[in-house]
């Protein structure tokens, strides 16, 4: 189970309360997590990354385990604590973007 925390403006848009819990078929990567997230909540398509699994929107950032993963390759494996559900995967609105 993958834990995902969304920024408040996207939780409001998708009508989500609290964390999102996703079952992601390994390998657990940013792409596979976002694919599953968008499949569960189609309203989020285009709001985190470009439509069709395209690049991250400029003012959205990805963090986990005190690491900035925003510039990692989308198919790179996420840290093990994210993959095993110990730590959440954080989708954050950049300070510059509001």
């Amino acid at each position: 189970m993958i834990r995902v925390i969304l920024p408040s403006h996207l939780r409001a848009l998708a009508r989500i309360e609290g964390e999102v819990h996703l079952d992601v078929v390994p390998p657990v990567t940013q792409r596979s997590v976002l694919d599953e997230l968008e499949a569960r909540y189609p309203t989020l398509r285009g709001t985190i990354r470009a439509h069709g699994g395209g690049p991250r929107r400029p003012f959205m950032r990805f963090f986990a385990c005190e690491l900035d993963l925003s510039h990692e390759q989308p198919d790179a494996l996420l840290p093990k604590p994210v993959a095993d559900g110990t730590e959440p995967y954080l989708i954050v609105g950049a300070m510059a973007g509001g």
Binding site: H9, L10, A12, T43, G46, T47, I48, R57, M60, G98
Partner: protein, 371 residues
């Protein structure tokens, strides 16, 4: 009893303001889509409970919302605005080619006869259409693909398609305006377009016959006389009596002919409204006095409307899509300011009162006259 519903888009959400036909007491609901910019929202002329809203943010881009109950509840619709084919380039501010990039929807114009059909004017300038209630969007590429498209340059607010007018008397005829490309007309429902800018004079354009390049801020028409168009340009208030084939200036005795919105009285096709703004550098009313100017002669002869509006220390702006009229017997006129006020007049502009005073900066105002 009939009533009105005012739809206000702001920098941080949308607000729905409702009143009965007296337009004295108002109910305010919102913010809807709190924290997001709402450039525009508008109702279907054939189903007043069907509303469309353009919601966007610097973080998460574009969202289209739809309401089927007059703005009480909303559902996100499709938000994929993909330019047709290979988008190509337009001119950047420095004159270099710049790829066409979708930024946001500035204006939504519901069809005159089908609640599921709606047009969207976007930045970078393009025209999109949905025929399924906003679920999916297709570009009508002929406008952006016009021979002059590669020479268009953005205005200070971006290269936005901000005005879409549908001619109720001629199916297929529509008008669009782009900052800073100019005005365009289609006679075949957007399949082909041609610039209609003859007679416009712009200081920054050395060629007096330039086909495009004019910073048109807003166009308005009376639905009963659609061959007559009124335009607020960057500078100059203009009029066309031949569907945009030619324009002549009607700024007359205005204190300044810079401004953004322009609108037409619901029952008097020659009664028009503008809000003069000091200059392109000083986006606030002259002398700190917020004055709507009304012409009852189709232009040239203007009178200031001040009753109920602040006449000192007022330094707000009124943006291009932030004025509207209702169609009650005594025509109501409405406008919103960058200071967060929405003003209403129930007597064609003779007197004004604020509906609300402290909203976020108002980006757009539309009004629906309810049965």
């Amino acid at each position: 009893m009939t009533g009105v519903r005012v739809l206000a888009g702001t920098r941080k959400g949308a607000f729905v303001l409702t009143s009965d036909g007296r337009r004295e007491r108002w109910e305010v609901s919102g913010p809807h889509f709190a924290g997001w910019e709402v450039y525009h929202l508008k109702g279907s002329p054939v189903d007043p409970d069907r509303l469309y809203a353009s919601q966007s943010s610097g973080w998460s881009g574009q969202v289209i919302q739809r309401s089927d109950d007059g703005g009480t509840t909303w559902q996100p619709m499709g938000n994929q605005f993909a330019y047709d084919g290979v988008p190509g380039t337009h001119q950047w501010y420095d004159g270099t080619p710049h790829p066409w990039e979708f930024a946001r929807v500035w204006h939504l114009e519901p069809s005159l006869d089908d609640p599921d059909t709606v047009w969207a004017g976007v930045e970078d300038a393009g025209l999109f259409r949905s025929a399924d209630g906003g679920r999916s969007w297709q570009e009508l590429p002929a406008l952006r693909g016009h021979d002059t498209g590669s020479s268009w340059q953005p205005g200070a607010g971006g290269m936005c398609l901000h005005t879409i007018l549908l001619d109720p008397s001629a199916p297929g005829r529509m008008f669009a305006a782009i900052s800073a490309a100019g005005a365009f007309r289609s006679d075949d429902a957007g399949q082909s377009w041609r610039p209609i800018n003859r007679g416009l004079q712009s200081e920054g354009i050395p060629d007096p016959d330039a086909e495009v390049g004019h910073c048109v801020h807003r166009i308005a028409m009376h639905p009963g006389r659609p061959q007559v168009l009124f335009m607020q340009k960057h500078w100059d208030v203009m009029r066309s009596d031949d569907g945009g084939e030619s324009w002549h200036e009607i700024s007359g005795n205005l204190p300044t002919d810079f401004g953004f919105p322009i609108d037409v009285h619901a029952h008097e096709p020659d009664t028009i409204y503008v809000v003069p703004i000091t200059s392109d550098a000083e986006h606030y009313p002259p002398e700190g006095k917020l004055r709507v100017y009304r012409s009852r002669t189709g232009g040239d002869d203007w009178e200031p409307l001040t009753k109920g509006l602040p006449q000192e220390h007022c330094y707000v702006n009124v943006l291009r899509d932030a004025m509207a009229v209702d169609s009650l017997d005594s025509c109501g006129v409405y406008f919103g300011t960058t200071g967060g006020q929405v003003y209403a007049s129930a007597d064609s502009g003779d007197s004004w009162a604020p509906i609300v005073r402290d909203l976020p900066a108002v980006l757009s105002v539309e009004v629906q006259t309810l049965p």
